[in-house]
Every structure is written in structure tokens, then in C-alpha cells.
């Protein structure tokens, strides 16, 4: 059963990559959501707009947008991958940063 060996080996790789991208990125996004909530004053109670708005917190907002930027970049990379594979290209990570190479 050579197939089983190939499959398990592949499954291990996919699992490792996906734990980083598929669970790590959402966690980062969650961190962004949390920071954004903190940035708007972190006030848990419901307030209506215009009535004593909480003082915004710059650090929270900055961290939030930093998190979102990383997530958006990762998604952009994902889309690049889809488009590239359609044109016979592949993403290569051999220089650490992604580059487009011809598919072999």
C-alpha cells in the first residue's frame, strides 16, 4: 500500500501548514478584533452614538490594524496562489518571501 504512505506523509504536511494558516490567522484576526474593541475605549456597556462616547485608544487601534494588515496580506497571497496556479505558475517559498516560479 504505497498510497497510504504517500497520503499520511502528505496529510502531515497539510496539517502543519494549515494549523499556521487556517487556525493561526483567524486567531490573529481575533486579536485584531479584541484590540479594536480596546481601541474604541474598551467599554463593555452599550452606548448610543453621540452620548458620551468613550475616549479612543490609539494603541489599540494601531495594533488592530496591524493584525488586519497581516491577515489581508496572507489572504492576498492565497489569491495570488489560486491565480498563479491557473496560469501554470506556482508560489515558491525558497527565498522565504514568496516568489512566482514556473510549475514543473
Amino acid at each position: 500500500m504505497h498510497n497510504l504512505g504517500f497520503a499520511l506523509e502528505g496529510a502531515g504536511q497539510v496539517l502543519a501548514v494549515c494549523l499556521v494558516l487556517g487556525a493561526g490567522l483567524p486567531a490573529l484576526f481575533a486579536l485584531g478584533v479584541r484590540a479594536l474593541a480596546y481601541g474604541t475605549g474598551g467599554e463593555p456597556r452599550v452606548h448610543t452614538t453621540g452620548v458620551s462616547a468613550p475616549t479612543p485608544n490609539r494603541i489599540g487601534t494601531t495594533v488592530a490594524y496591524a493584525c488586519f494588515t497581516v491577515v489581508v496580506l496572507a489572504v492576498a497571497l492565497g489569491i495570488t496562489f489560486i491565480v498563479a496556479s491557473g496560469f501554470g505558475k506556482a508560489l515558491s517559498f525558497e527565498h522565504i518571501y514568496p516568489t512566482l516560479v514556473n510549475k514543473n
Partner: protein, 408 residues
């Protein structure tokens, strides 16, 4: 108009029919969670998914013409049909393809009727395997590959079907757990709003990937039929009209929305909250993209179902309806043999009558079966109006005060 040309036309129409069922069967994979959490209105969700499928299908410039090689031996390595099948103007090969497609469509419609998310690619492969066994015998099937890579029915269909939902479920469970840990104590108005956006983004990624992966299966099958009947000769390219029609048809199918399946995936398995929806969709997108990057075949349906289950497991206190999950797994197990059985029976019927008459008879059978199942579905319609009703264990919500207007 020659006899061969009529058969070819029937094959192309049937292939596009399969493409259409492929579209609405899989809308749920990308959009069920966004519809269930009301991140998107049902109509908006299917429209967005349809457009992204259309774009995705056009992006698949380099189409694998060897799509059938994974499971059957009717093509050689370059994608050209086997010479021995081309005697008689390619009718023998066209009959196998036609019967295989009918097997795939019938099984897709039947599982849709039951509201079960089964894999469209398994249905297609099952139909082709069945028709090939009937037409060429057991040796015509590529069971195990040649040992150099993951290949054959075992390597490209069975093993990924077992492994991919487990991986997706694990990733989604970890993602869900992390998200809830990170956002503990944050007011709901922040989390719901934020994660709805994250959900729309990740669901869109799944739709786009679906378009690039699935539409090209039909493109490959139609081009194979064209080559077999002598209407196309390049094995490195697909005619533009084939690409355009497959892209448009899968997008239309997606836009129609398989509401019965959307309901099962979105409301039936787990009561999904926006953070879970985002975790599930991100896990699905990551698994689909990583697997295709590494060259593994898998079914979007298995991945999406696994990740939705995982998002239920990862959230403390969330209820997972395991009985329904068990029914789904049951449907997955029999998809390949069931579609294969239909494919084989249809091939036998077509072969018995023979030639043009056989092909027309097969096509008529398909129309009767599809029409019958459509009429049956109208007895318990599910549409955008009731897709989000409380889950009561049935495919269709029990009490339906709103008059049904849309196909289920």
C-alpha cells in the same frame, strides 16, 4: 448531421448538466456558514459565490485534460483518448463518458433531495468508474496508481476522503478554540461585527478556489469527448467556448443555490456563531489551498463539512448533531459505489440498444430521473425564505407559512 455528432452533442449537454449540479451542490461549502450567521443575506451570498466561481473558472487557464486518469484508463498520459476506444468514430468512449456523467448527475440530485452534502467529484469519478467497469472490465479502472505517487481510486479518492475532513476538522477546532480564548470578555457587538467580515472574506476564498478546481473537471471531460470524436486535436488546450460555457454554467448552478444542502450544513450540524463560521471557513480555505499546492486531490465538500464539525467541537458548550454527521459520512461512503452502480447500469442499457438509439435512451432516462426528483423536491421546498428556520431534524422546515417561490 451525422449520428456521431448527435451523440457528441448529448455528451456535451449532459456534461454541462453535471457542471450545473456541481455548482448548486457545492454552494453550501462556501456560503452555508455565512448564511446561517446572517453575515450575508441568502440571495447576496449565492450571488457572491456565483460571481467568484465564474471568475475562478476563467482563471483556470491551464486545465488538466487528464482529469479522468485519476480513476480510469480511457486516456493516455498526454490526455489523448486511448486508440483502441476510437474505432467506430469514438462512440465506445463517448458512451462510457455519457453513462459516467449520468451516474454522477443522478447521485448529485438524489443527495440534494435528501439535503446531504456529498462530494460532486466523487459522484463524477464514481459514475466514470462504474461505466468503465461495465464497458471495459475491472482492468479499465486505475485502482492503485503505479506506485510512484498518490494515484488511482485509492490514492486520489478514498484516502483523501478519509483524511481531509479530519484535518479540516482539527484545524477548525483549534482555530475556534483560539478565537474564543483571544476574545474572551470582549463585547458581542465587537466580535459579531468583526467576525462577520472575516467570515465573508474566508468564504469568498473558498468560492474562488472552488471555481478554479471544479469547473475544470467538466472542461476536461468535454474536451476529451471532442478529441475522441475528432472535433479537437490539441491535448494542451481547451476550446474557448468550452471554458466559457463551463464557467457560466457552474456559476449559474451556484447562484441557484442548493438551499436544501445549505440548510443542512449551516443549521443542521452545529448552531454556528460568527467566530465559529470564520474559523470553519478559514480552515477550509487553508486545507483546500495547501492541498492543491502540494498536489493532493480532495473534495471541497468533505473539507467544508469537516471544518464545520470542527468549529462545533472547538467551542465549549456547542452542540454537535452527531447523528446527522453520521448520516453524511454514510452518504460519502456510498457515493462512489452508488454513482458507479448507476453509471454501470446506464452503460449497460445504452450498450444493449446500441449506437445513437442507446445514447438517446440514456439521455431520456436522465431527463425522467431528474424531472422526477425535481417534482419530488417541490413537495417540501427549501428556498432562501426558509433556509434559516430553526432546525427540527428534517430537510425542509415543518411549518412553512411563507408561500414557496424559489426552487429548493
Amino acid at each position: 448531421m451525422t449520428q456521431d455528432f448527435v451523440i457528441l452533442t448529448l455528451v456535451i449537454i449532459t456534461a454541462l448538466g453535471f457542471d450545473f449540479t456541481n455548482g448548486f451542490h457545492d454552494t453550501a461549502n462556501a456560503m452555508a456558514t455565512s448564511i446561517a450567521t446572517k453575515a450575508l443575506r441568502p440571495k447576496t451570498a449565492v450571488a457572491l459565490s456565483g460571481i467568484l466561481n465564474l471568475i475562478g473558472a476563467f482563471l483556470s487557464v491551464e486545465v488538466a485534460l487528464t482529469v479522468t486518469n485519476a480513476v480510469v484508463k480511457i486516456q493516455d498520459k498526454t490526455g489523448a483518448p486511448r486508440a483502441e476506444l476510437l474505432a467506430d468514430g469514438g462512440t465506445a468512449l463517448l458512451l462510457i463518458i455519457l453513462a459516467g456523467l449520468v451516474g454522477g448527475i443522478v447521485w448529485n440530485l438524489f443527495t440534494w433531495l435528501l439535503g446531504l452534502p456529498s462530494s460532486s467529484s466523487h459522484a463524477l469519478f464514481g459514475g466514470l468508474v462504474g461505466a468503465t467497469i461495465a464497458g471495459l472490465g475491472w482492468a479499465g479502472v486505475n485502482w492503485n496508481g503505479d506506485g510512484s505517487k498518490l494515484d488511482g481510486v485509492v490514492g486520489k479518492v478514498l484516502l483523501p476522503a478519509v483524511l481531509s475532513p479530519v484535518i479540516a476538522g482539527l484545524v477548525a477546532a483549534v482555530g475556534t478554540w483560539l478565537i474564543y480564548q483571544v476574545t474572551v470578555g470582549v463585547a458581542k457587538r465587537f466580535t459579531d461585527q468583526g467576525f462577520r467580515w472575516g467570515q465573508i472574506g474566508s468564504a469568498s476564498l473558498v468560492s474562488l478556489a472552488h471555481g478554479t478546481n471544479d469547473a475544470q473537471k467538466t472542461m476536461g471531460v468535454i474536451t476529451l469527448a471532442l478529441i475522441a470524436s475528432g472535433h479537437w486535436s490539441q491535448t494542451g488546450a481547451v476550446p474557448l467556448w468550452v471554458k466559457a460555457s463551463c464557467a457560466v454554467v457552474i456559476a449559474l448552478g451556484t447562484y441557484l443555490g442548493g438551499w436544501r444542502i445549505i440548510r443542512t450544513l449551516g443549521k443542521g450540524l452545529v448552531d454556528i456563531a460568527p467566530p465559529q463560521g470564520m474559523a470553519a471557513q478559514s480552515a477550509a480555505a487553508a486545507v483546500i489551498l495547501a492541498s492543491s499546492h502540494l498536489g493532493f486531490a480532495l473534495s471541497t465538500t468533505h473539507v467544508a463539512t469537516g471544518s464545520i464539525l470542527g468549529s462545533g467541537v472547538g467551542r465549549r458548550g456547542a452542540a454537535v448533531r452527531w447523528r446527522l454527521a453520521g448520516r453524511m459520512v454514510g452518504a460519502w461512503l456510498i457515493t462512489l459505489p452508488a454513482a458507479g452502480f448507476v453509471g454501470a447500469a446506464v452503460w449497460a442499457a445504452g450498450n444493449l440498444i446500441g449506437g445513437l438509439g442507446g445514447a438517446i435512451a440514456i439521455f431520456a432516462l436522465l431527463l425522467v430521473a431528474a424531472g422526477g426528483m425535481y417534482l419530488w423536491s417541490r413537495r417540501t421546498p427549501v428556498g432562501h425564505h426558509n433556509v434559516n428556520d430553526e432546525w427540527d431534524g428534517a430537510v425542509s422546515p415543518a411549518a412553512d407559512p411563507v408561500p414557496a417561490t424559489t426552487a429548493g
